[in-house]
């Protein structure tokens, strides 16, 4: 699991560090930077599989839109501390990655990257007398503008190569099967990142989308929701229906039908009111209902580990069922070492989130994004004896929440 993430110079961030637990709620005023944090983490996660320029293109964004306007640094940097089980050994991997931006040329390239488990590994180097010497080098992998070093476990040695210009992490080249023996830590990290999903753009339009093929998740931004439901086995489908019925009792079943082009499937919802049954095709399923189905479907995704990013979970969802939605999220993170980071404006949803799991996002005096634990100061701890987290957020202003009134 990701223990902490540091983001530098991405959109309105200058330097922001976020400690992460299993479930993490980001709150804050409009334009505070909650979604920026999700986008930055999505950028980082995707750097292991996708070139940065492709990531930008997928969002229809320009480079100047993600490069921070605070300060003069040309780099966008991230640091993630990730706890992973590597071949039965619990390891804390420190992944640092920096991208160099060139706004005039419109390019973004990998500048530095390193992955370390805190240990030193032997490296053969040629000394000034042209003799081979073995020295210890920190970390498993290190990318610099002209060279790249990998510690290879198969030969117990760090190999140094010339590096090529690129716009993704070198993890993109790591093949979980081919490199398992050579780079077990990097393979494990790549596997972990492949299990991280950003559903920040979980828009009803995406969820309504018909999709095709067998899939084990709901796809980027929920576009494969229909295919995933179709790919579920009987047991998974029954669990999904039970979960949704618990929230909305009149839902009788969720099926998929082939519609339009061969192999493309679409969701069909059945409602039961007494003896009356209603079939609703995905085009007519309400926005909120689609999101509830998506949340309930998350719990059926077979992958272990990984971080799920969700933006504005309350969107279209009736506050009356907020407790159940939050429970689904807590149940989800309990299984399989998973994490969720979500944003919300809803104090009703927040009422059921544990105070320790809430982070407040705000803008510092220079406009940069800052994050703090929301319930740390003494006054708020006292209020928690009588009030739920959402009620406190509703009643206090930002300065009171971050404890500046104490100074």
């Amino acid at each position: 699991m990701i223990k902490s993430i540091t983001i530098q110079n991405f959109k309105a961030t200058k330097y922001v560090q976020i400690e992460l637990g299993k479930l993490n709620a980001l709150i804050g005023a409009n334009s505070a930077g909650k979604s920026t944090i999700l986008q930055a983490i999505d950028f980082l996660i995707n750097s292991a599989t996708t070139d940065a320029d492709v990531w930008l293109k997928e969002r229809n964004w320009k480079l100047e839109e993600i490069k921070s306007q605070i300060g003069s640094s040309r780099t966008i940097a991230f640091n993630a501390v990730i706890q992973l089980d590597v071949n039965g050994i619990e390891k804390l991997l420190n992944w640092h990655i920096e991208f160099m931006t060139n706004l005039s040329e419109g390019t973004i390239t990998l500048y530095r990257e390193s992955i370390s488990d805190g240990r030193y590994y032997p490296t053969n180097v040629i000394d000034k007398d042209r003799k081979m010497q073995t020295v210890l080098r920190h970390g498993l992998y290190d990318y610099q503008p002209h060279k790249v070093a990998f510690y290879n476990f198969s030969i117990n040695e760090t190999r140094v190569f010339a590096s090529l210009q690129r716009s993704s992490s070198l993890l993109k080249d790591i093949d979980p099967i081919k490199h398992k023996e050579m780079y077990p830590d990097l393979v494990r990290l790549k596997e972990y990142l492949l299990n991280c999903h950003s559903f920040e753009l979980l828009s009803p339009d995406n969820l309504r989308h018909s999709s095709r093929g067998k899939t084990w998740d709901i796809g980027k931004n929920g576009k494969k929701l229909a295919s995933f439901i179709r790919s579920m086995d009987k047991n998974q489908r029954e669990k999904l229906i039970a979960l949704i019925k618990d929230i909305i009792p009149n839902i009788d079943s969720i099926d998929t039908v082939i519609k339009g082009r061969p192999g493309w499937v679409e969701m069909v919802l059945k409602e039961a009111y007494g003896d009356n049954n209603f079939k609703i095709s995905s085009a007519h399923i309400s926005d909120g209902m689609l999101r509830i189905i998506a949340f309930a479907t998350l719990a059926q995704m077979p992958s272990e580990g990984g971080l799920i990013l969700l933006d504005e979970i309350e969107d279209g969802v009736n506050p009356y069922i907020s407790e159940k939605v939050i429970k689904i999220l807590y149940d989800y993170v309990k299984q399989g070492n998973r994490q969720i980071l979500f944003t919300t404006h809803s104090t009703v949803f927040l009422d059921d989130v544990k105070p320790d799991d809430i982070r407040l996002v705000f803008r510092d005096v220079d406009g940069s994004i800052a994050v703090t634990k929301a319930f740390e100061n003494e006054r708020i701890k006292e209020l928690l004896e009588f009030m739920k987290p959402g009620e406190i957020v509703l009643n206090l202003d930002q300065n009171e929440l971050i404890g500046q009134e104490d100074n």
């Binding site: 009703v348 009422d351 006292e382 209020l383 009588f386 009030m387 739920k388 959402g390 009620e391 509703l394 009643n395 206090l396």
Partner: protein, 226 residues
């Protein structure tokens, strides 16, 4: 019959809901309220109880409330709004005073109740906990066990009882009640409600002049006003 909503800290004071029903099983605080109301106004009441967790779920604190109420007043505010929801005019909010200042706590409750003008709220705050009130009237013991407690006898000023919870021989009120009842070869659990029902408000007023007297006066004022 007067309808009253009541909220406390747990089943040991106000009572509890019968499993999976709406029926409320009175605890000693509920019984003491009924006795006081009967004594002061010769009136009976029907209590709708709610525990504090249910109350937190049922009633949310609205925006701006912290400008008016604080601390335990928030609980009183929730209870008053719950009473409003149930269309009940009277609310009783119970809390142990413990080591807090009695007057401050009473004021907090009053402020909370005042935020909902159509509900009349009564703070019920034993100093230091309900056992102090249960240790005030030896006649209640005589009625129950056929003799007054002698070894140990009841404390002359139960509101002054203080002691460490972790030390069974201390003057922590729950430990004192256990020692008093043990002379009748019994344990407190079965007798707390009965002692409350048999207590004489006049005796309680004289032996607990700070907290019970105030509670009784509040009942006198609020119910006379109706």
């Amino acid at each position: 019959m007067i309808m009253v909503v009541m909220c406390g800290e747990g089943s040991q004071d106000v009572g509890k809901r019968d499993y999976q029903t709406d029926h409320w099983i009175d605890g000693p605080a509920a019984a003491l309220f009924k006795v006081a109301l009967d004594h002061s106004h010769n009136r009976a009441c029907n209590i709708t109880g709610i525990n504090k967790y249910e109350l937190d779920k049922e009633i949310s604190v609205q925006k701006g409330v912290l400008k008016i109420v604080k601390g335990h007043g928030i609980k009183a505010y929730r209870l008053a709004r719950y009473a409003l929801l149930k269309r009940i005019t009277f609310a009783v909010c119970y809390v142990d005073c413990d080591r807090r200042d009695f007057d401050d706590l009473h004021r907090e409750f009053q402020k909370g109740f005042e935020s909902v003008t159509s509900v009349k709220g009564i703070p019920m705050i034993p100093k230091t906990m309900i056992e102090c009130w249960l240790l005030a009237d030896e006649h209640a013991y005589q009625k129950l066990f056929k003799r007054k407690p002698q070894n140990p006898a009841l404390p002359s000023k139960p509101e002054d009882l203080r002691g460490a919870k972790s030390e069974p021989e201390s003057n922590y009120p729950k430990h004192v009640l256990r020692r008093v009842i043990s002379q009748f070869h019994q344990v407190p659990d079965e007798y707390r409600l009965l002692l409350a029902e048999l207590s004489d408000p006049d005796v309680l007023k004289s032996h607990c002049p700070i907290s019970y007297e105030r509670f009784y006066q509040d009942i006198l004022v609020f119910f006379t006003a109706t």
